[in-house]
């Protein structure tokens, strides 16, 4: 039997991450969104003031350990944010509870990352596997974009989400790069077949903030679907494909490169701060430039980088006449409360739109 490897869940990208470890001859253990049980375990074990992302991730590893998984993998950032310490503290927590799960970091200490050294895959299958994972990441990006667009104007509520899930299942089954490409080619016609209401003018809302919360449907109380149901075409500014390019510093000329974002944010923020704080500020400015109706800023309660730029977002909202809804989530956030706030926000945006239609690019 292949040993299991617990991978940090990251929304729909979990399936791409799972694909990336196939060549290590392990069984990936992940989930597409946190579950209430996962979060409960995580909250119980974590330090009180740790952020929601930490708690969810810790819960995930505890569950994995209880299911008999021996290994896990977790990013370890080199940044200023708390993320730097996640892996070590999670390891401590697991040890204290007598759970035997070793978490590999994704950093380098030597030539190979420790994970690769341990499982020692053959180079060619490994590279093939990386290519598959990258293709799947881009495929998920494409799927997300289609879903945002269709969900806001679908005639039968739920069509887009259903189709998204079907497509994701197909994508998960694809085993080679040509298969993945073939799968991606079916997305466009399938989404085009969804009956839509062409008379409806969707609101355009940007979602920005902390990455895990933007992607995890359970942690963010299904923001994308709620807003879509309210007739808003969302754009989630965290797409892993774009982020990969930034991490590997190859997208120097892409629209989302750090360098571009830095230049965009300069009048308001002159430092990277850490996490995705700079991205939040820069993307909010971009939303205003591109004529978005509003922005929802999503962060776990007490998130160090995101909270520290909130005063800047508030100023920016006034200067650029861009409504920004600040949503902080912790384990006590009530679903009904979130829905009510979003409904109020959407109806306020609708009113603004009727009074003064924004120019659309």
């Amino acid at each position: 039997m292949k040993p299991g490897l617990a991978i940090q869940p990251w929304g729909n990208y979990s399936l791409a991450l799972a694909a990336s470890v196939e060549c290590l001859r392990v069984e990936p253990w992940t989930q597409r969104s946190t579950t209430p049980e996962t979060l409960r375990l995580g909250v119980e074990a974590s330090p009180e003031f740790a952020c929601l992302s930490f708690k969810a991730c810790t819960g995930h590893f505890i569950q994995a350990a209880q299911a008999g998984i021996r290994y896990g993998v977790m990013v370890n950032s080199r940044g200023t944010c708390r993320l730097r310490y996640y892996r070590e503290i999670q390891q401590k927590i697991l040890k204290e509870r007598g759970l035997d799960l070793f978490i590999f970091g994704l950093g380098y200490d030597g030539i190979k990352p420790p994970l690769i050294r341990h499982f020692d895959p053959d180079p060619i299958p490994f590279l093939q596997c990386c290519a598959r994972a990258q293709q799947k990441t881009l495929a998920v990006d494409a799927l997300e974009r289609e879903t945002w667009r269709v969900r806001a104007v679908e005639r039968r509520p739920g069509d887009a989400t259903r189709l998204l899930n079907e497509c994701l299942a197909d994508l998960d089954r694809a085993r080679s790069v040509p298969e993945i490409r073939a799968c991606v080619r079916t997305f466009k016609p399938r989404f085009a077949a969804v009956p839509i209401d062409e008379t409806r003018v969707p609101l355009r809302i940007g979602l920005l903030g902390e990455a895990t919360l933007l992607r995890d449907r359970y942690l963010n109380h299904n923001l994308e679907e709620i807003l879509g149901g309210l007739g808003a075409e969302v754009r989630n500014f965290f797409l892993l494909g774009d982020e990969m390019r930034n991490i590997f510093r190859i997208g120097l000329f892409s629209r989302n490169s750090r360098w571009r974002l830095k230049r965009l944010a300069r009048p308001y923020l002159e430092n990277l701060v850490g996490g995705h704080a700079l991205d939040s500020v820069a993307h909010a400015i971009r939303c205003a430039q591109e004529g978005f109706d509003g922005v929802v800023h999503v962060a776990p309660a007490g998130c160090m980088p995101e909270v520290s730029v909130r005063p800047i977002l508030r100023r920016l909202s006034q200067d650029l006449d861009l409504p920004i809804l600040e949503c902080s989530f912790d384990e006590h956030a009530s679903h009904v409360g979130v829905v009510t706030r979003l409904e109020a926000f959407a109806s306020m945006l609708r009113e603004r739109q009727e009074k003064k239609p924004r120019k659309r690019p």
């Binding site: 740790a50 310490y85 401590k92 002159e270 701060v273 996490g275």
Partner: protein, 305 residues
């Protein structure tokens, strides 16, 4: 480079000796005495905000971002108090205070956040304090030039400020008694309104208490890279259980650094067999609640011995 060239044109700019406001919160506590000495050496009058009081705390709750930690909220209240009195304030961007270490990420956005919040009420003078990139002396000299002083003047002021900055206080004479150690970030420990009632209460209970002085972490930046947290962890590792009766950590609500460093403190002290208690400060801290917890802590330790 740009500031360097600009400094030739701005030299002797009128108004370069306009008074500058310095809040009595956050950064002056991280580098005690440094900024006052620097501006004094340049001949710029410094206007300090009044010490924290109950009113400052209440004001902070009203005007500041709700999810900030207490020290950042207090900074906002102190700055607001300065707003009517000066037309410029100094808020540095603290990225790292000691080589090899980094500072809390919240401090990296401060000047921009302050500018956003108080726009039109005062000008924000800032400098990037990043020991990993350039030494403090150079940072100070550049700040002097940016303020319109000649390079030589600025460099001299930088040297004077570094010489005058308060050296770390010597540990109190050893009386042989077991002492309690109060740890926390310097800006919490140095704020008389926040920390003094706790020290007073402990003294009333008849125990000796020592405040951890601010200082550079000496060892390698592992496992913690945040400077103030690493300093605390080092102090705890060096503690001798025969001399230390217990450790009380003063943390502020929503402190990100402490949420991650807490497990390390706890682990270290557990291994050494030293009792540990964390007291969380927020704007609602009622003294009676703190008193009860301190009494219980001290009594339970007295019972142990």
């Amino acid at each position: 480079m740009r500031t360097f060239i600009a400094s030739f044109f701005r030299r002797n700019r009128p108004g370069r000796q306009r008074p500058i406001g310095l809040p009595r919160a956050l950064h002056p506590h991280l580098q005690p005495g440094l900024w006052e000495a620097f501006f004094a050496a340049l001949g710029v009058p410094v206007v300090l905000s009044a010490p924290t009081t109950r009113a400052t705390l209440e004001r902070a709750e009203l005007i500041s971002e709700t999810e900030h930690c207490l020290p950042v909220k207090l900074l906002d209240a102190h700055l607001e108090e300065l707003a009517g009195r000066v037309d410029r304030v100094f808020v540095p961007r603290i990225l790292s205070l000691h080589r090899g270490f980094i500072s809390c990420p919240k401090l990296a956005a401060l000047p921009d956040a302050v500018r956003a919040q108080f726009r039109g009420r005062f000008e924000v003078v800032t400098a990037d304090v990043d020991e990993n990139r350039r030494p403090l002396e150079q940072t100070l000299a550049e700040l002097g030039r940016a303020l319109g002083f000649a390079p030589a003047e600025s460099a001299a002021a930088a040297r004077q400020a570094l010489a005058a900055a308060a050296p770390p206080a010597a540990p109190p004479a050893d009386s042989g008694r077991r002492r309690y150690l109060l740890i926390g970030h310097p800006y919490n420990l140095a704020d008389a309104y926040l920390a003094d009632p706790i020290v007073r209460k402990l003294e009333e209970l008849g125990v000796a208490v020592e405040r951890l002085p601010a200082g550079p972490p000496r060892g390698a930046p592992a496992p913690l890279r945040w400077d103030t947290s690493a300093h605390m962890l080092e102090a705890l590792r060096a503690r001798d259980p025969a001399r230390c009766a217990g450790v009380i950590q003063l943390t502020s609500f929503n402190c990100g650094c402490d949420s991650m460093a807490g497990p390390y403190y706890r682990e270290t002290l557990k291994a050494a067999g030293i009792p540990f208690m964390a007291l969380t400060l927020d704007a609602h801290a009622a003294l009676a609640g703190l008193d009860t917890r301190l009494e219980a802590f001290v009594e339970s330790i007295a019972g142990r011995a």
